[in-house]
Subunit: 255 residues, 4 copies
């Protein structure tokens, strides 16, 4: 069948002489002139970030790059130990754990704050935070952390950076207000999760809330490469496997 095909894209293309990316000449205008974090922002947002935006954005990526032996790091390491010829498979296996429970808090928090701001005409931030906490029935994304029970060390640092750069906006402001008002409503005091603060900061940069998980995944890709480089030098993947395997307690199945 003869047909007219057209696949429009604004990301990239190339011909014999030039590579275009985001409307720029890759070699002449981007290489050596644009940082990698800056480019990642640009690719998703469709606009070049300012230096201040880039600093906040890269601080978020640095904050989310690693958190020790998470399920993502374990999956990547045992997969690499099992199929070392495929680094891409090990990286992919690690990223596949970037779902609702472990890496989801960044996007969940950004979306919760975004929706709260857009679905209400309460103008006072304390009132809005009180309303949000009261109606969320105790399940506020980004509130609480399994390890950092009192304060997540990333939280004040990221808020300070956002203020320094002039990108402390409505999402961070609402999230901090939630931090102040929730104890009276919930009857307990929970810290603002650093990954949640990252989601608020990304939303204040104007990045689409549906893509916030993507930045967490990009950050984690760097962390996983660190784990895989270490795994290549001093393998733990097989030791993790053996620890589980030799402590298996077999419970005979039914017939």
């Amino acid at each position: 069948m003869a047909e007219e095909l057209s696949f429009p894209t604004g990301i990239g293309t190339s011909d014999a002489d030039q590579i275009r990316l985001l409307g720029q000449d890759l070699a002449a205008d981007l290489m050596g002139k644009v940082g990698f974090g800056e480019l990642a922002f640009w690719l998703v947002a469709g606009r070049r970030p300012s230096p201040g935006e880039t600093r906040v954005f890269e601080a978020v990526l640095v904050a989310l790059a690693d958190h020790g032996f998470t399920p993502t790091a374990i999956a990547a390491r045992v997969t690499y130990a099992s199929a070392p010829e495929s680094l891409q498979g090990a990286l992919a296996a690690g990223l596949l754990g970037g779902g609702s429970r472990f890496l989801g808090v960044t996007e969940d928090t950004g979306r919760f704050l975004h929706d709260t701001l857009n679905n209400s005409d309460i103008s006072d931030v304390e009132d809005l935070a009180t309303h949000a906490v009261a109606t969320a029935k105790g399940r506020i994304p980004g509130l609480g952390h399994p390890v950092h029970k009192v304060q997540d060390p990333r939280t004040p640092v990221l808020i300070a950076i956002a203020k320094e750069e002039g990108f402390y906006g409505p999402h961070l402001r609402l999230f901090e207000a939630i931090g102040r008002v929730h104890p009276a409503i919930l009857g307990k005091t929970l810290p603002l999760n650093g990954a949640g603060v990252c989601g608020a900061a990304l939303a204040d940069l104007g990045l689409p809330v549906d893509m916030l998980r993507g930045f967490a995944l990009l950050a984690r890709a760097a962390g996983l490469l660190g784990h895989l480089a270490e795994e290549r030098r001093t393998g733990l993947g097989l030791e993790i496997y053996r620890t589980v395997d030799r402590n298996a307690a077999y419970v005979a199945g039914k017939d």
Copy 2:
């Protein structure tokens, strides 16, 4: 079974008050002070890069981030169209194409140059390049490009950046010599592939050649996020699927 377990790592850990990463205090020492590309280098190499190394490294990541509608971009887009609830699955599907044929040239070139330099005592670079081309039987990683038949526009730019920053080392030098000597041996003139030059530049930064594919994957992760953000706005994945499906020509199987 009671046992002593120990999983040593130098990547990251955390306790109630602090998150450590690479021997640093994440919040106090890294966030806002270290760029994302710089951190990725540090995670894999185990040492902090200098500003010059960071610039060369980020230029490589920018050069490799995207190359249009590659198989990796297509796999990511059709997967996202089919399972939009799982951004991590679409990203992983895209990265899984980062194997020997499309993203492999960076690592293959770095390794070829590294092995040539380490397995020979020829000191003159032209002689070494001649020897390498003559013994490789016409299959030199990084030589030639399917689109850029005369010159890959990334090649001179990356070499210039490496020279500016003082990281033009033996791998880039040998690769350029191969570019000069191969026409007389092979009877045709091929350009130095930009992705191959990236591999040479990463090797000159002292990064482990076994991990070079990892950097190509990290760069591509950013490019794939750009494709997926665009896919979210203006879906092409279903159109790609329909183009293939409606032009299927069914060849009846045997039996």
Copy 3:
């Protein structure tokens, strides 16, 4: 830290002399005596299916194994073309498209019927179907098909097999009733999607509705291996890539 570890499982274990699977001796009791579909049922349900259950179950797997050039097949093929050294990566890339839009209908339908049956005390099946269609606001999983506008050829065959084997139960009965009552409510007549009927049949076999997508994925794994075996012989992946790439229409980005 010395600690008592125990990872209980009823799936499998092995020692020097024996491999146990599901409480059986793998070599003595299962190999050559249990079919592969039968084993897959047993692994998920925790009980051995009867021959009649096995026939219905395998008919479902056969029905779901392939549906031509779906996004899953395309992702698998372009990934294999790009990284042919990693068959597992190509298969994984294909399965990652098995999400909400393409392979989800089996699980969605089974769950919808299951929930309707469990959340109502309406005993008459026509009344229950009417209630379900009326309250679902026009979005009934498993109703309608993009290609089979009048009848999905799998539907009557699978229902007949379930009846023959005595496993035509409440889920299939409710789904057929929905097929009868919906035109009067929705004002249009839609066919029962064959993949939806598969979900109803699996639910009638007592399989857990949360795992129904898993069977669709298992079935599709076989179909994808067929595509990859064909791709190995007569590659289409690169042709799909080139078709998209050469019809790219570059829309210059902003900035």
Copy 4:
């Protein structure tokens, strides 16, 4: 650009009334009449297997479905615990470990035997086995097993099934001969690995050696679904994660 496109395939297609698969009418000719294992063989080989071939083939799939807490099972479980909304992601993560070290022995053995048979004109099987062992320099795929030091229980059972069904061919014969001759050459006696015998049996069925890993992956997909169904009921993934995480020994990185 208007162009003639054609993507030929012999796997499957469909129109409004019919679904074709492998040259058959899916609903009329396959559902309820062909087993799932039988279909998987047909999809890859392009021909319908006989009942005897199907029995050998399904015995292989049953033999390879699970082997306890392997890296593949661990990766699938921790990924499911981390992203329970994406069953396809957990299954894919598990399959990605199906590479050279853990699931590779089936294909490696089949290929080694295939290549030995095709690259030699030695007709006596004992002589050929002696030649193969002597020239392989001690690294014979399929010889030895980490747990079954004396005998892999799957080995005699699968060989007996192949003989019963008349598919004990040159690959199994050569592998058994290698089992007899290697002690005199290597100075130690190793068992024939059951997964390696599976590769020999698949090769004797005439299946393409490049796709043998695919069958191991299909078998393992069923085993992984069993692990994931169990994980859904009694989660171990988080306990595996916590075991690793709380026994992390932090080794401060360099700067």
